[in-house]
Symmetry: D2
Subunit: 462 residues, 4 copies
């Protein structure tokens, strides 16, 4: 295996930044310090003028998601490869059972799909229905499979929506198991009614998508899930917080001492809802995801949440449908498959709009792109830390490098880029996964199947 000597950079951890060389051997970090000597045979990486950071962890992706007999464009190989190109060394994807499907069966299916992954990966498991077998299988997943988080969709009525009855039962079970409940927070009944109402008003195009899912629909659901977690005394993690209303629900709960955590998508930080009014259907439809991009003003508020510590992680909800797939909703916005990409661009976008603007420090960047996720999902400091003993998952970050983001040049197999044309300053020069250089100055060396499934222990395992 490769030995790396990463020389002369500034190591950035969530707690501080400092000048140091880094040595990795056998897939682990073996030394961090000033003026180290290069081990014999080591590959030298010159990190002068650059930052050496823990590889990004994307806690929210959907690779190879089945949909209407087809799947998203990126499978676990191409999706994780694109991630590596963007400086990410781990993803946490989702197992999503159909209602009534045994959740162990769905879990095994996703495990199979993921074997081709190029980077390390892990799984949240969605709870889409409830009975005693589901309850039992949650225990198996936590105790033997290394799953410590369960997802609940509060929207998508008549499909995977989890009603309050299931929600309260599952949250209670999470508490027993030491697992973290997470929620996609939108009030599914309201979305359902509004989709019909908007259609009745004659609005059939993508501009109807945000009208059917206004911010309060998300704020309500976030508040509800948080209140339930409060009553049941279980922590909670809210995925893709997109608006002021939801961010305030989290902040209010945290102000009363509750353990609530919020995730923000890179897209929600910089894209606003004007995209849905684009005259070209394909362009507008390509932005259809839920929660939708939000009116100006929300973006700044999300940044403030990340600055103040009431929001904690950044993700992408990477879920790439191509134009042909999106066309399924040509005459009815509610039929447009929901999803956008971003796994490859997240770090650069967050750096550019966060660090370059003075909103956050490099250490805070590491916190919200890697370390916090590792801590919240209990794989820290194996992941999320540049320290001796940690996995050799690193990104060498060139703060002076620039790049114009585009679908034309992306590694992802998607055919669209929601950051199209945005020039960012601050890009990865090298990505190190399991101690190997998998991305070097634009050269992607991802290996199919090299990624490992990462077990995440329950929180009460002390």
């Amino acid at each position: 295996m490769t030995t790396l000597f990463i020389r002369g950079g500034t190591v950035v951890n969530a707690d501080r930044a400092f000048k140091a060389d880094v040595i990795t051997q056998d897939g682990k970090i073996t030394a961090v310090g000033e003026n180290l000597s290069a081990p014999v045979g080591a590959t030298i990486v010159d990190a002068g003028g650059q930052y050496v950071m823990p590889g990004g962890i994307d806690p929210h992706t959907h690779m190879q998601l089945p949909f209407m007999g087809t799947t998203t464009m990126d499978d676990f190989f191409t999706g994780t490869a694109a991630g590596l190109a963007g400086g990410n060394t781990t993803i946490i994807d989702f197992v999503i059972p159909n209602p009534q499907q045994p959740i162990m069966e769905a879990y095994q299916t996703w495990r199979g799909w993921a074997e081709k992954a190029a980077s390390d990966y892990s799984f949240h498991v969605a709870i889409t229905w409830w009975d005693e077998t589901v309850k039992r299988d949650m225990g198996t997943l936590v105790q033997t499979e290394g799953v410590n988080s369960f997802k609940h969709f509060m929207a998508y009525k008549n499909a995977i929506m989890c009603d309050d009855e299931t929600l309260v039962n599952s949250f209670k079970r999470c508490l027993e198991l030491g697992a973290m409940p997470t929620v996609h927070a939108e009030n599914g009944e309201l979305v359902y009614l509004l989709q019909k109402t908007v259609a009745e008003m004659g609005i059939k195009g993508p501009e109807g998508h945000p009208l059917s899912r206004p911010p309060m629909v998300e704020g309500e659901a976030a508040n509800r899930a948080i209140a339930i977690a409060d009553v049941l005394n279980v922590p909670i993690y809210v995925v893709h917080v997109s608006c002021i209303e939801a961010a305030e629900a989290i902040a209010r709960a945290r102000a009363r001492g509750q353990r609530v955590y919020g995730e923000v998508l890179a897209g929600h930080l910089v894209v606003d809802d004007s995209v849905y009014r684009h005259p070209d259907f394909a362009t507008a439809a390509a932005h259809v995801m839920s929660p939708p991009f939000r009116p100006k003003g929300n973006q700044e508020f999300l940044w403030r949440g990340l600055q103040s510590g009431s929001l904690h992680t950044t993700a992408t909800d990477h879920c790439t449908f191509c134009a042909a797939q999106k066309a399924a909703g040509k005459d009815d916005f509610s039929k447009i498959p929901n999803g956008t990409g971003g796994v490859e661009e997240r770090l650069a976008v967050v750096w550019d709009d966060g660090v370059n603007t003075g909103r956050i420090t490099p250490s805070e960047f590491v916190a919200i792109t890697s370390a916090n996720t590792a801590k919240l999902f209990n794989i820290y400091p194996q992941k999320g830390s540049v320290s001796v003993g940690a996995d050799a998952d690193l990104v060498v970050w060139d703060p002076a490098g620039t790049k114009t983001l585009s679908a034309k040049t992306q590694f992802s197999k998607g055919d669209f880029n929601i950051f199209e044309g945005r020039t960012v300053k601050g890009i990865p020069s090298h990505t190190v996964s399991q101690g190997e250089l998998v991305f070097v100055q634009g050269d992607l060396r991802a290996v199919n199947g090299k990624g490992r499934y990462i077990k995440r222990p329950a929180f009460n395992d002390n």
Copy 2:
């Protein structure tokens, strides 16, 4: 009919207080002014040193509520008579259809029961299920029966609970009809789970009641109903706001300009949750109502809401079950019939704890005991105002009079008084209903069947 000359008092309306005599004839107020002459044959009421105010309106009572083959102790006669003794000249009660029962049928049943009322009355109608006939009948009630408000119970799972699907449909229908949706805000799924959880912990007595309905259970539901109303653009009225969490949900919504209104029960203003820890089952059980009485600190917060205008009305949820009825839950707190009295004491309790403490002015007292309810439910200034042309429904209020509240001396047929032993300063000396003296210095002259059904027009009738 009687002509009254109420001489030398201070008339108090919601906008101001001023010295004036008041004359009533044929059930209406015919003159308000200084130094009026007594009409020939008028009955003279000396209001010197006293306040002349619009009679109280209790917007939340349950007279003659059927329960397990029996009914509450107070029927429409004894309940409204007790109300008159306390200075109230109107109540708004509830028609509560069983799920699947035609709502017009339930409405007619309640109208029949109410014919014996001694004071004027009106009805909110509960929406406990949903189909096209319910939707249609809501229109009939608004357009021909003078019902302009519909109630939704967010708790009482497996009984009258209204799930989110019904809620959003009914709210949307209210908007079409110009009717006000109202909610009993508690998350029924959480209550259901907590009742089981508390029982599993071995807690079977009344002390389990508040444990199964913590404040956040109410706060969540209030926030949810308000958010739904916001999204659908309909006003909303939250009944019996009992805790900080719910009051804050209302205040937040109002701060964004939403039309949200909150009702507070007299009991919630002055009684705290220590009552559930009373060693005597009967006493503790007698206080069982929902939402429960709350920990200290909540009472002050409710007062602040009334002071600042984020809460609007006071009520009682008068619903009197006797000790024998309460005993149904002797071994299981969740079986104790929910309800307490108060229609007779509300004005005195609110005056004593509000005006005497300096929290509110006499005009604000009139606002929160009478005028605001009349405005919100569209019977102002027929009710809620001492002005020419208004109904001659008045209370002459003696600010120096004192009384010790007690089940022993109450007119209500209930056998318990949640204000037992409290000595209040400020009591009605006379109550005038439809121009008749129905309560004079302790002498109750209520007449069975004298009360009229009051139609309330829809809000879009201009």
Copy 3:
């Protein structure tokens, strides 16, 4: 004296609107009711399809304000005449003593200037310094001169700024006297420092004005004054609340039950800070007032405050300096005399942006343009109410009438109009002052000296 019969309109009071005729005699309203008979000799005003409302009260004007040896363009005659043309029948202006000047002397000076007023008027008195004579004279003003409010400028260092020592002493004195303290809330030390800092950055033009007075400068001062009032247990009225930060300070205080009131200028409701970036100095300078016009987003927030009842009155701070006077600050924005007009346009602007947009009802319009001011400054219902016995100060409002606001057509002697070019729907057709028609369909009949000084009793006079 004239007798008026205002026929067929909809009377709008703060508590409700209703069809009624109105009769005025000898300067008072003598009848309000349906189907009245016209008194013999009465002048008939046809109010069909129109609203009959209490005349507007502008609680914040500066007529004839002395400045650098000259005065504002509008004196008490032209200013109140312009007010009448806009539907206002009362103004409350300010006596502003120089530091060290006896406040009774200043008061007499202003009383003299005001004798030419065409409408009724009253005075707040500013406290610009402190010693025992000031304390004594405050008593005289309250007890014998009918002044029940005192103004405190928290900005204008080295001029009329009132430091915290004076503030706390004066607030305490207000409490003793039953008078309302009011504040111009801006942190004068910060403004002073920022004016220098902005100038050092090379910014000398009007665009420097808002940079030297950012919203937090106002928010801080508002919060401070309110906190002091809270500690000393005195109510407080914050003039010209212009931004989210100050409005939130008020809302927070009200939520804890404090008696805090907020005033909003018509200009702050509809004009934003882009005006300071106008390339023409005269135009940009014409908008210089303090607090400055604010970034977009603040306007909506102020409306929400008025909707929810955390803000209470609307005013203008009418203070007209012409282009030649504004030119004093051609090379230094801090030397531009602060002030804009508006007394003539307020009602129309508030109606158009408030009632026509659905934000407020006609009754709420009356509350925030007239009745609330009358109540807060203790001249209700003499002013602010269409009811028998009230002053015959009325405006007949044509909701279908339109007008394009412009300096070219205004009655005010100012040479600028901050609402220039705005077309409003809803204008006064008739203004009635003291029972006389003083403005009829565009014909202004203001009479020099016809206005009366209105005494306002202290709040503890019961």
Copy 4:
């Protein structure tokens, strides 16, 4: 020098806890890891079942503070020795120049006094007046003396109070220098007025102390200082946040993304204002400090701030006056010297009320007692971290050890203990300072003069 081998404990850092041995040599930590070998000649410390944490840092003490010709009971030796006994290895004290005294002179005086310290120490410098020499000397302190924080007293009128003019100038200077402004937040004008008012009411005893400094007095000042910092774009640290009002001001600012930090005293977390009503003057007076202990409810709110991350550090404001000194205010509470102890008890009290109750984790304990202070005042990871290269300042913490806190058994020279009689579970078994065992199982081995002055670099030194 001593070599230590701390074996078998759980190392707790702010980011995580993990089993590890720790080796220290020459005053530095040289190894942290599992199954290390003991260096030859090392002193073995058995940490089995115990936590090994960075030594506490108390960011707020007043040792040897001169007062009326005498000084506090604890000088720099006895005070730091008491600190070591409690697990603290660093204090940050205050240089407090008299108004008009050259600040360099005061700085040198304090440096001299501190030479006898037994543990490491550093200094904040107070800005009590303003002119160009003060401005210049702030530069010298930052650039050559390692001072990176300046303190501002917003109370103590006619003594060391810093008015808004000085505040804004000093804050601006801090920004230029990369120094952190800190404030004692109380409105000095209000305190001054209230002290007189309370005295005029006949209240002369210690019960008058909290009446003269109600929470809003602190909340106002905190809000003001934070607003000024916001406008000037400088971070700010608020010392001894004691009440809801101040904590909310911080939380509000953080929610808009501002860099605001809050410190809480151990005393304010567990002691309430009932102490001032103690019948014994000496006892009541012994609790006199500012801000005063607060009504119940505030304590929980402070904990919530620490939990949610809106408050950051814990301190003591250790300032010990004995009964004879306190007696100076026997007839006038405003003359009682302000101050209480606590440097010895802070860690145990915070652990007991924080970790044992489940409010915070051991890692969060380290954050709020050590690491956060080190980061905020720029001495991390030299201090505040158990990691290779850090100073060997450690505490071995026995979570099973118990102790009853008492003046009788304390090492501090004060004669009172505000935690008297409180039995805590969780106490230091060993304290290590500069690699030496200075406290072992109750045996204090503090050495006069062994402590070093710690320079803290400016924040813009990259």
